[in-house]
């Protein structure tokens, strides 16, 4: 089922949670709503489910307007951040709930319910735990039961609110891979909310980046990571180095560093900020022309295949972070306190007046 969100606005007291949201989610897609807390991502998800009423705008499922429908009639599967399992019911009863509450005409027989619940228990690999109560399960197990419970009614849309938020790092990684595989096997239109960019980049087909109630960018993980449209997205999707400088007729100057920026030919002496990811920082032992900045190494973390370096610029004292391979690190024989020459291999320049950071 496709979901069309148009013109959705929501205000809590005086706080504008969502401002004029337009978004189309295609059938079978797995979409991540990514943003910091307070960005409105959970509110948007809850509006899709009917758990929250929008002040204006409409929610359309497969061309049919759902805006006025109650949650009960929307038939969406919803997985809550804190699982929201029914504490007094066993795992089996939790999963069966959605079938048992159907009006008697639509309710499957006892055998059918039994069969369906066991199918789902097999799907989430928890057949032997059917008789347990939620309090006897681990966090990861509870989350899988919550998912099975949402899937039992065969929803056309699956909504997940920070599904892995309350789990520890190891379980989190396993579960999100498992969710991705599950979605490949049963491509239900799915939307999940997260504040973890790694999670969104790992799992989603498309990512919607929200900030302060507005959509900043929509795109595949590659698109948003490689081509952030503004400084917010750049910042949000990973570590970044900022270089403050000026641009004039296609030439940028960041202290001693001078770069050609053909996309800003018409700029006339404007203040700019350049963004570079740590792995796009090149390090040399000797200066080679004007494209390099001198910096002192102040911190080295050489654990694992990637070496993290922190450096302090000699000219203005600003900090630069870099990630290089262990091999490269060994070849360069870097040491604390050493002066090296740094160059952004890849960068993007934004003129700050256009954006409020």
């Amino acid at each position: 089922m496709s979901i069309e969100i148009s013109n959705i606005t929501k205000t809590f007291d005086s706080f504008k949670a969502l401002n004029n949201i337009h978004l189309k989610i295609n059938t079978g897609e797995l979409v991540a709503l990514l943003g910091p807390s307070g960005s409105g991502k959970t509110t948007l998800l809850r509006i899709i489910a009917g758990l929250e009423r929008a002040d204006g705008g409409s929610i359309i499922f497969d061309g049919k307007d759902n805006t006025k429908k109650t949650t009960q009639d929307r038939k969406v599967g919803f997985v809550f951040q804190h699982y929201a399992l029914f504490k007094h019911m066993t795992v089996f009863e939790n999963i069966a709930f959605g079938l048992k509450v159907r009006p008697s005409k639509l309710r499957p027989s006892k055998e059918e319910i039994n069969k369906k619940v066991h199918e789902l228990l097999a799907l989430v690999k928890m057949e032997e735990l059917a008789k347990r109560y939620p309090s006897q399960l681990s966090g990861g197990q509870r989350q899988r039961i919550a998912l099975a419970r949402a899937l039992v009614v065969e929803p056309k849309v699956l909504l997940l609110d920070e599904p892995f938020g309350a789990l520890d790092a190891k379980v989190r990684k396993d579960l999100r891979r498992w969710l991705r595989k599950l979605h490949d096997k049963y491509p239900i239109t799915s939307v999940f909310v997260t504040h973890d960019q790694e999670e969104a980049l790992d799992v989603a087909d498309r990512i919607v980046i929200l900030n302060q109630g507005k959509i900043e960018q929509i795109g595949t993980p590659e698109e948003v990571y490689d081509n952030p449209v503004n400084p917010f997205v750049y910042n949000f999707l990973g570590n970044v180095n900022l270089f403050h400088g000026r641009v004039h007729k296609g030439k940028a100057e960041f202290g001693s560093l001078k770069l050609d920026v053909p996309e800003h030919l018409e700029a006339r002496d404007r203040q700019v900020v350049s963004y570079t990811r740590p792995h796009d920082i090149e390090i040399c032992l000797e200066a080679q022309g004007h494209e390099f900045i001198a910096a002192e190494i102040i911190f080295i973390r050489a654990i694992g295949p990637i070496v993290n370096l922190e450096m302090k610029r000699v000219d203005n004292g600003e900090y630069i972070e870099a990630e290089i391979s262990k091999e490269n690190y060994r070849n360069l024989k870097l040491k604390l306190g050493q002066i090296v020459y740094v160059k952004p291999r890849d960068f993007r320049i934004f003129i700050p007046e256009d954006y409020v950071i």
Partner: protein
């Protein structure tokens, strides 16, 4: 004593001082004021002899009073369970004017002397009283009947269910109700299948507390019941009557029965409270 196995210790180690003296005082005070006096009932009953005890306990008047006491107390506790749950729900979930005042006044029957409640309710429900008049025109008598006793008992045991259910209702996570809605459950289904099971231990505890309180009540009932033997005589009143006739043995024997009932109620209540607080751990 550092070699003592931990499980043999009565008290776990603690740096907080004063356990010995405070525990000693607590125990002494309870022994003098509660344990010894209460045990007197059993001590005296046993001196009556089993045959005489049984004779008193199985007498028609005692049995009739027990029947009235249990019947009216059960009915009162049941009414309070239903309306207590309703009022707790309305107070927690809906907004209406003067809600804070309503919530605050729920505890009034705990603080109002039972004699005051007694004369006020009797006057109200008497055939010429404000409310009694309305029922009298329908041919229904309330004061001086078991119905009147039930109303007095509803009043004095009213706060228990509200106050045991309210905090549990408050602690129910809204997410759980939203989850039920997403799975297609109607509001009524959510209430019956999700909310009520969560509330059940608290509801039963509140019911049992109200029932226990109503069983022992004397002050308010003595006015409204009319005190007719076999018809509107509750057990505590019968004890009082026996004492006034200087029939101490009879009064004590009935008191022993009431005490045993109180002990059982206390045990049941403690079990339910334990169940309520431990079942999800």
């Amino acid at each position: 004593m550092s070699h003592t196995v931990k499980s043999f210790r009565i008290k776990q180690h603690s740096v907080i001082p004063g356990f010995g003296i405070t525990m000693g005082f607590t125990f002494l005070y309870l022994t003098l004021l509660v344990l010894i006096p209460v045990s007197m009932v059993f001590f005296n009953s046993s001196s009556i002899g089993l045959v005489k005890f049984w004779e008193i306990a199985s007498s028609e008047r005692v049995l009739a009073s027990l029947k009235i006491s249990f019947g009216t107390s059960f009915l009162a506790a049941l009414v309070n369970a239903i309306f207590g749950l309703l009022i707790a729900w309305v107070l927690e979930r809906y907004t209406f004017p003067c809600k804070k005042i309503v919530d605050g006044l729920i505890d009034l029957p705990f603080a109002l002397p039972t004699a005051v409640a007694g004369i006020s309710l009797t006057t109200l429900y008497a055939p010429n009283g404000w409310i009694g008049k309305l029922f009298a025109s329908l041919g229904l008598k309330i004061s001086y009947t078991p119905l009147g006793i039930t109303i007095a008992l509803i009043f004095i045991s009213f706060p228990f269910v509200v106050r045991t259910v309210q905090p549990v209702l408050k602690s129910i996570d809204l997410e759980v109700e939203e989850a039920a809605a997403c799975l297609g459950a109607t509001r009524l289904q959510t209430f019956i299948k999700v909310i009520v099971p969560e509330l059940l231990p608290a509801l039963i505890t509140g019911f049992a507390l109200a029932f226990a309180r109503a069983l022992g009540e004397y002050g308010s009932v003595v006015f409204i019941s009319g005190n007719m033997p076999m018809k509107t005589e509750i057990t505590p009143l019968l004890i009082r009557t026996k004492l006034e006739q200087y029939d101490y043995a009879g009064g004590t024997a009935i008191a022993a029965i009431m005490l045993i009932i109180s002990f059982i109620m206390l045990l049941v209540i403690n079990i339910f409270q334990w169940w309520a607080s431990n079942r999800h751990k």
